[in-house]
Subunit: 666 residues, 2 copies
Amino acid sequence: MMNQREKHDRMANAIRFLSMDAVEKANSGHPGLPMGAADMATVLYTRFMKHDPKNPAWPDRDRFVLSAGHGSMLLYSLLYLTGYEDITIDEIKHFRQLGSRTAGHPEYGHAAGIETTTGPLGQGLANSVGMALAERILNARFGDALVDHYTYVIAGDGCLMEGISQEAISLAGHLQLSKLIVLWDDNNISIDGPVSLADSTDQLERFDASGWNTMRCDGHDPDAIADAIELAHHSDRPTLIACKTTIGFGAPTKAGTNKAHGSPLGADEIAATRKALGWTAPAFEVPSDILDAWRLSGLNAGKKRKEWEQRLAAAESEIRTEFERRMRGELPGGLDGAIAEYKQKLASDRPKVATRKSSEMALEVINAVAPETIGGSADLTGSNNTRTSQTKPISAGDYGERYVHYGIREHGMAAAMNGMALHGGVIPYSGTFLVFSDYARPAMRLASLMGIRSIFVMTHDSIGLGEDGPTHQPVEQLAALRAIPNHTVFRPADATEVAECWQLALESAKTPSTIALTRQNLSAVRTEFVEENLCAYGAYELATANGDAEVTIFASGSEVEIALAARTQLQAHGHPTRVVSVPAFELFEKQSDDYKAAIIGGAPVKIAIEAAIRLGWDRFIGLDGIFIGMTGFGASGPIEQIYPHFGITADATVKAAEAALHKKSH
Amino acid sequence: MMNQREKHDRMANAIRFLSMDAVEKANSGHPGLPMGAADMATVLYTRFMKHDPKNPAWPDRDRFVLSAGHGSMLLYSLLYLTGYEDITIDEIKHFRQLGSRTAGHPEYGHAAGIETTTGPLGQGLANSVGMALAERILNARFGDALVDHYTYVIAGDGCLMEGISQEAISLAGHLQLSKLIVLWDDNNISIDGPVSLADSTDQLERFDASGWNTMRCDGHDPDAIADAIELAHHSDRPTLIACKTTIGFGAPTKAGTNKAHGSPLGADEIAATRKALGWTAPAFEVPSDILDAWRLSGLNAGKKRKEWEQRLAAAESEIRTEFERRMRGELPGGLDGAIAEYKQKLASDRPKVATRKSSEMALEVINAVAPETIGGSADLTGSNNTRTSQTKPISAGDYGERYVHYGIREHGMAAAMNGMALHGGVIPYSGTFLVFSDYARPAMRLASLMGIRSIFVMTHDSIGLGEDGPTHQPVEQLAALRAIPNHTVFRPADATEVAECWQLALESAKTPSTIALTRQNLSAVRTEFVEENLCAYGAYELATANGDAEVTIFASGSEVEIALAARTQLQAHGHPTRVVSVPAFELFEKQSDDYKAAIIGGAPVKIAIEAAIRLGWDRFIGLDGIFIGMTGFGASGPIEQIYPHFGITADATVKAAEAALHKKSH
């Protein structure tokens, strides 16, 4: 009979050998972290994790985030060993191969048990803050019986060096997210060599300064790790446990060095590791007693799910229905009707307001019907107009509200929103200035890659913001965001389009959205009530030509009213002109070829207007089309002067159109 | 006679009234910070700053960075008051107006004394780390007599909340940049309200954890501020001085609240502030005794420059010549010859190496001739190949070397590089993976806006990196970087193009560069020695068609060899085909219309190949052109399978070309 320690060691070694053998077979990957963190992970999964490998989507499971995503084999090993069906031994043998679930870094959606896509460092840690926050929000709504779980993270030195980690930990500390527990794989090694090459931070002091509970332990002593996690469970603050580990633990010559980090150990070193750790099983074979012990831990953990199912069954039917709807990510039934009614009102009111303001108006309607929306802003609440009457600030200990003051932390905000969306039960939306989407971009990319419903509200979306000048005026951000695959960039032109874009963003469960909104007031361009969501086409004819169109003007957002004004002039000059509003390039591309051809049309002169760079607009106007927009950075000055200064006016459009018509007719 | 304190108060009040009056007149801007920080700034500029308003470019001046750039009127006031010619009272009256030097946020290049463009929060703080590092590097080379100055920063709560601040302070602490002194305008207020809405960080503890010297003082007590700065001068670590201030100091009803932050105070509040502070002068008038006192402080400060000029004159002529060349930003005379010689060698060697490797080879040549290059990497030294035999690591106290281990801090790295470039005397280049340009993007944008020579080395530039998978495979980053105005994105195809691109990047003093490089080996595509730098054209004909071209293939980087292989096949099938290498879109756009038309040519079928998204390539191939590239995110797998998986092969190119030719001929 093995004693407990021997059993632990062999269970942890199973992770180590699966990891080093998979990396060796792939001839690519990172053995160092799984080998170093195997003890922590074994303690966590065998003694603490509330999960059910047979029902991995169970809403009240503990969340585990491998923030140091390069150590993916640690996660794949855990999922295989505890009995997740998606990760078979065959998948592990096909680590890093095309089409396998076991990608180089954990990819959300590839297999159950992968709670988020990690790899870009620091993201997982920031996701976990969102998960832990979502847990508290749902707990406040649905009670301990239905929602009461931990979020565990394994983070490496790289995660802690990235700036996003500071945004994440200061937010988590501020909100006292005590069910968030971070195990730091404190191995003193980064890719270039010892961490001391580049960093001297006292991490415990740093986390302490952010309001965390901090501890140290020997990351290879299972009881010490367990004691630390146990203590963390009793903290009223988030906890960092610095687990001192040896990277590549067990590898005789490479352990403790950067040689163990990111490449196969090699056959000799692996053989020597087998000898050193007394592991006789061949590659990809886990001795049956050890595999049994792992599977049993998975089965035992699953029992808690049955208890939870009973509690769910016993819950009031209204509560249960609402909980289940929200966890499925289904929108409330009343939403469409509320938006239709609101659109009807807009058609008669025709408000002349900034789209950031009409976004607030739309949210006022949405938030009243959809209790799952959680708003926020990176300290620009009054500018982003993301707070409505229904959303009061969440604060430490008071998680029953619906608004997050994320602080001046755009990147951490976006990543936390991703964590909330991944957790489920809430739909996060939050704002900053469009130009600062650059700060949030790595997290926005991951939202797109994962295919989750994070909604980014980006106001002050052009030079139209005026005096703040070029540091605050986006010119390339629309193009740069449109460049991200599986990301819809909405740029609505008036209050009606705003309402439609919000509806589309909410309905888009597998594609994150950016909604770009103006600071400046805009006239209503949609003056008739149309029940159909016209923005769903991505581009649609807003105004027809009074005859065979000589000119088509495409525009988005604040420039649509310029397009309409130019049309009026051109038609007065005898040039039939149509205007196409283009609220979302990505949705237009999804339309039928016939629809697209009809929208682009055959007018001899095609013009696009957007107060941003041309990149991407050739799709509509062709290479010989006329673009009225920006060619460089903006300038500081009042909006009334800025638009003319850069030649973005109806007059300039008319002039360019007539010059082109003149040229064509000669 | 005023006593010293009264004099200080009136001098500080001059800043306050200039600021509030300018904001009022502009009807836009941020009075709160200048009013709150006026005391710190007055102490700094009247008692410590080594600067010369009459010779503002003096290399050994202290650098002052207003990281909280929204408080721009503080800086403009200081520059006007101390006598910088660029900032007249007329400029201050035209605050935030089109064409004035006094933009909403301080814009580098608009006026002497603006050391960097700030506004996006945290950037200035990170710039200052680069400035302080450049100072130490030059000090190690040129000695105390020529280089020995401080870098002072005023940072706000927002700067400290942004993640980039953590990257900056941990790097500064690690490198013990003791001549960096940060005055934190600790006013407890952010835009949404009290900082406590979103943050509970103990900032002093946090900075202490990063190896800083930390102090607190009353930010309205001039002697306390002076004592703290004095103490900071004797620290062996960088210093944070938390100056407790009242935002909008002096404004009777708005001081200490977010109402003072970002909008005009209004006529009534300004009148009441005049009364409260005993200021009787009308708007934009500074009482002559106060203006004299300010101007005198500027004149006195300037005396140190004369002493420095004497030391420079007394320096060895070789040292002086080298120092002056480097501070002018002129490249060494031998560089062109060294690169030409190296290109000659390449034409005969034709190495088949990754472009990241040939970048190292080029740097080996460059670094031997140009002692001002300072290399680095965000913990990917062995992957980015940015370290050469000449560049050994810089460490705390040992600043005579030329390589910076920036740590896993892409954003802080890029911003520190900007600070180094702004300081002058060094040319910073440093690397990470191209996909992580997203992390560094806000700083890369500012490099472009400022027009400075930061060179970003971005390796692993496509799905060609293989197994690490979609989190690490850039697909939209090339397009997104090309979208930034005044930023050249180089994507060289072989060792010769790499050498040429490096030469162009170094010569480009007013435009930052990104050099995108492969992980995988590439064949030499340039097999003949050409002295001329062909990459300077941005796009050039690499291979002619054997007859009237039926097909033109445009490609960049690693896809050029695919284009050449496709050309061979197409010509064998009787289809004359030319290949255009496109190492830099931006440089192509600068060529004459004739050149551009000739390069694009009239071949009936135009194809572009780039292992990235299509966005931007329509410029070359037109809307009906064929694009061989990516339409979504990548996948984890070996490169040999990844390229065929996504259809980026010579065969696919040939097939598409022939199908198009077939269609055209029918």
